[in-house]
């Protein structure tokens, strides 16, 4: 099992979703992806769309103001 990281705090729509999707495609069963993202569109939709695609959102934590950590498992 591997753990991947992705920081999309500096990206804007649609690259926030594009980078997440391309990284999620690398995951094998049991692997996790830790994403750093901002409040708003990315926080509202990255976990939701990952769930829709069959991934499990393991954790969502506020790291600092406006920045969240979301952990997704395949």
């Amino acid at each position: 099992m591997s753990a991947y990281n992705l920081d999309i705090t500096k990206d804007r729509c649609p690259m926030t979703f594009v980078k997440t999707k391309l990284k999620l495609e690398e995951l094998e069963e049991g692997d996790t992806l830790e994403i750093l993202l901002t409040t708003g569109e990315p926080l509202n939709n990255v976990p939701r769309t990952a769930t829709e695609q069959g991934f499990t959102v393991v954790e969502t934590t506020l790291v600092r103001e406006n920045i969240h950590k979301v952990v997704i498992r395949k």
Partner: protein
Amino acid sequence: MAEKNKLSIICMSGDFDKAIAVFTLASGAAAVNYEVNIFFTFWGLNTIKKKTGRSFNGKGILARVFNFLLGGRNNLPLSRLNFGGASPGLMTSLMKSRNVATLSELFQASIALKVNFYVCEMAMHVLGLEKDDFIPEVKDVLGVATFLELSKGGQTLFI
């Protein structure tokens, strides 16, 4: 897992800003697991020509002059305030400085996410072009009936 949604875009415009809208929607939708089809017709064909600059491609003198004047993806004009072709470059710099994806990045993202590119058979014929004049990622050359069949059951946009 939810059933796969579908977005089909008819890209008729060859304007820089509208191409940005097309590839933003396409890559964004593909990134959230939509099946995405883009049907390029008329000026929209300029965005997917193999030659990204000005080139005398096509059959017949008139078609060759047309294709040279229209150019490829690097020659798309802004629909407003084009300033003789200077604005797309300025807009790209502005987008980079604001951490917003450029047309080139959105285009590459659409390819990486396997957006389906289709060429309008009729427009291709009018401009004297062939499938080989377009990027290899073009899946097929087709007409209205096939496009309607492909887009059935999803959302369709005309840009």
